[in-house]
């Protein structure tokens, strides 16, 4: 490889070497890896948990500011470009990108876990704890994650489709770095995006694998040994890598559509077989409580009442969304070409969160109603093993085995589609933003993604996954602040161009 070739591949070389080092450390010295990651994680949480809270709130305000200001009319594409997808097709893809495995994993268990283990100032299992559980589930899955995605999406879409630059995070830094985006500074930004994506996606894959394993154990009594989880990841890896390498885009799209349809059917099934008025009542009440308290809970860490709860939940979620943002952001940007900033932001901040709220009301709300109605043990199960709660919950409905199989299918397809998309995005990020990526890069990233998920599961399970999501997101948080600055500069210059010449 000559010097210019080496420079072009710098992002790929550095990020893959660092990830490989991480994997080898996990294989040969898991204790050291655990010690290091826990140390960094504790340092970040002890000193910067407030920063995550303020940042997510800032990104929300910034996104709304963009939509409601004069910048709202700017198109994410050339002026005469039309949106590539129909409105409903676009919405379906937005939902699919933002929902993923996480919503299936946490849909039942999160409200139950908050209900049984609320912060110290609330008594567990009380109506107040139930209200708190639902409001915070809405909060963690509401407008903030979408605001985080919005920052990355709009930046990528604006600088790529309107300014004609490569689809890379570093392209968005041109106003700040100038030609240095092609140098070390730009490469560093892309490397940070790769790290965030790989650890964020590995966390989701780890959660998915854990839940698939729990479901299989629960249904068919398969051994609960961690080696089975590893086996599930290996099988899924073979499937998603085949899809990514062969490029069966149509197949994946069809699977995604089937998945969304199945998810909606499952939702409808639970809704209609549950108590519809109670669920809808829960939906409207929690929506009211959420919107009424959004500023307070956005910045609240309960410093005098035990801030560890906020660190374990809210900070983890914000970090997880941030680590997902390069991957989801690039995907959402690609499907949003031709839409105005106002249309993009207002849609993204309303419709997908509303659907998610409904999902939580139906699954989490029904689970809470069952628990409060005397189905003892559901919350206990969620508290002990969050991945099992969904399957125990489904036992309270007709055809539990069929429902569980559908849930397993949903998880598996989400696993494959997410990992497939993440592999493509990672390969593109490490190939200068080009659409055509070499096969070996897809293989490397596919294998690394699964290897990281396995290493994290082996070193500490769910806790390790959460630790790495928080740690990898931290540097990207600063990248996101700079994205806001660069975007503002770029959009301001649009306004100058629109003014009549002096």
């Amino acid at each position: 490889m000559n010097v210019s070739g080496f420079k072009q591949e710098l992002v790929f070389i550095i990020s893959s070497v660092v990830i490989l080092f991480f994997i080898l450390l996990g294989v040969f010295s898991p204790a050291v890896l655990d010690y290091l990651s826990s140390g960094v994680h504790s340092f970040i949480l002890d000193n910067f948990s407030w920063l995550y809270l303020i940042s997510a709130f800032f990104f929300l305000i910034f996104s709304l500011g963009l939509a409601l200001s004069k910048f709202g009319t700017i198109k994410l594409g050339r002026d005469n470009e039309k949106p590539q997808y129909s409105f409903f097709g676009w919405l379906a893809m937005l939902f699919a990108a933002g929902m993923g495995i996480g919503l299936i994993f946490w849909g039942v268990s999160e409200p139950l876990v908050h209900f049984i283990s609320p912060p110290p100032f609330l008594s567990a299992g009380t109506p107040a704890a139930a209200d708190f559980a639902m409001t915070y589930s809405f909060f963690h899955w509401g407008v903030h994650p979408w605001a985080i995605y919005t920052i990355v999406s709009i930046s990528i879409a604006y600088f790529s489709f309107r300014r004609g630059m490569p689809t890379l995070i570093s392209s968005c830094f041109y106003p700040l770095f100038g030609e240095r985006i092609y140098g070390i500074s730009g490469k560093l930004v892309d490397i940070l995006a790769v790290f965030a994506t790989i650890f964020g996606t590995a966390t989701s894959l780890g959660l998915g694998a854990l839940q698939i394993h729990s479901g299989l154990s629960h249904l068919y009594g398969i051994s609960s040994a961690i080696s089975v989880t590893v086996g599930i990841i290996i099988i899924a890896t073979a499937l998603f890598m085949a899809s990514a390498i062969i490029g069966v885009e149509k197949g994946i799209q069809t699977l995604s559509k089937i998945n969304i349809t199945l998810a909606v059917c499952l939702l409808a099934f639970i809704l209609f077989l549950g108590s519809i008025p109670e669920i809808l009542n829960l939906f409207s009440s929690t929506l009211g409580s959420y919107t009424n308290n959004i500023i307070d809970i956005s910045l609240q860490s309960y410093p005098f009442q035990g801030e560890s709860w906020s660190r374990e939940w809210t900070v983890f979620y914000w970090a997880w969304w941030i680590s997902w943002s390069p991957f989801v952001g690039i995907f959402i940007a690609q499907i949003s070409r031709g839409r105005t900033i106002r249309e993009f932001v207002l849609t993204v901040l309303t419709i997908p969160p509303l659907f998610t709220f409904f999902w939580f009301s139906v699954f989490g709300g029904s689970a809470l109603l069952l628990e409060r109605g005397g189905a003892a043990g559901l919350a206990q199960v969620a508290g002990e093993d969050a991945s099992l709660a969904l399957f125990v919950f489904l036992e309270h409905y007709p055809f539990p085995a069929l429902l569980s199989v559908i849930a397993l299918f949903l998880l598996m397809v989400f696993f494959i589609t997410s990992a497939d998309s993440a592999t493509v995005v990672l390969s593109s990020l490490t190939s200068g933003g080009g659409a055509f990526v070499k096969v070996y890069k897809k293989m490397v990233w596919g294998l690394f993604l699964s290897a990281v998920a396995i290493i994290l599961l082996l070193t500490g399970g769910l806790t390790s996954l959460q630790i790495m999501a928080v740690t990898a997101a931290f540097p990207f948080l600063f990248v996101m602040f700079l994205l806001c600055y660069n975007l503002y500069i770029g959009l301001s210059q649009e306004m100058v161009f629109k003014k009549p010449e002096k």
Binding site: F159, R163, G164, Y174, P175, L176, I489, Q493
Partner: protein, 269 residues
């Protein structure tokens, strides 16, 4: 430019230094000077007056062929100076940066800052450069290096007539701008700015010994300060813009330059 200049004077003024300054300004074209003192109410020794100024200094300066007027005002110091400058139709206000702990580049006092913000006439803030000749000699125009800082917007064209009065000096036109958002716009913008700067160069060339232009990307205050130090500039000529929202807590570009520069600043509102 300095034909009729208002010089604020304080009780603690060093008469000899003031005289040297005024003689130097005479070399730069001054023929009439207003020495203006603001009495601060409530000060124990505030009403002492400036009798020394009215007697000896005035006589000395009149002997040099200058028209000298001494005026006294009261109230808010900066407002009084700004109002008097306007009513007396002066061409410029002269402020000498005071030497504190031997560091002349230290922050200006609040009065000077307020004058820069309030006055509607050009203000000359004299910092370390150009040095006033100790032996009573004159500052020669052709030895001066002038930086004309411009963003090529309306406010930055106002200093042009004043700038041209530094005839024979070396003029360095410095344009500072933000980088455009993509390489193509950046290249087009750069070319457009180069055209504008060439036109400016042509316009200024007849009045100056040498005219050079440069465009830089970055923070205006930082770039002006950096360039003025790099080329050892004597005077920075710039227009004053309306303060933005953020200039209240952060300080305007002009304020930052005035505070930190070793070169003098000629600020045209």
């Amino acid at each position: 430019m300095f034909e009729k200049t208002l010089i604020p004077v304080a009780n603690c003024e060093d008469g000899k230094e003031l005289k040297r300054v005024i003689i130097t300004l005479k070399d730069l074209g001054m023929n009439s000077v207003i020495l203006f003192h603001v009495q601060e109410g409530g000060l124990l020794f505030g009403k002492k007056g400036l009798s020394w100024l009215k007697c000896s200094l005035k006589e000395d300066l009149e002997k040099e062929g200058l028209e000298v007027e001494t005026l006294t005002g009261n109230g808010h110091t900066a407002t009084a100076i700004a109002e008097t400058a306007l009513f007396e139709n002066v061409y410029a206000v002269y402020l000498k940066a005071r030497k504190k702990w031997n560091v002349e580049t230290l922050f200006l006092g609040s009065v000077s800052r307020d004058i820069l913000r309030l006055t509607d006439v050009p203000t000359f803030v004299h910092k370390i450069r150009p040095q006033i000749p100790v032996d009573g000699g004159a500052i020669r125009h052709r030895e001066l290096v002038i930086v004309y800082a411009t963003d090529l917007e309306k406010a930055s064209y106002r200093p042009l007539p004043y700038l041209k009065e530094f005839k024979g000096a070396k003029c360095y036109i410095l344009h500072i701008r933000k980088r455009r958002a993509d390489p193509l716009s950046e290249r087009m913008w750069k070319e457009r700015v180069e055209e504008e700067l060439s036109k400016l160069e042509e316009e200024l060339r007849p009045d100056f010994g040498e005219v050079i232009s440069e465009q830089r990307v970055g923070d205006p205050a930082t770039e002006v300060l950096h360039t003025s130090e790099r080329i050892n500039a004597d005077i920075i000529v710039m227009g004053r813009k309306e303060p933005s929202f953020f200039s209240a807590p952060m300080g305007s570009t002009a304020e930052r330059i005035v505070n930190e520069s070793a070169a003098s600043i000629f600020l045209v509102p």
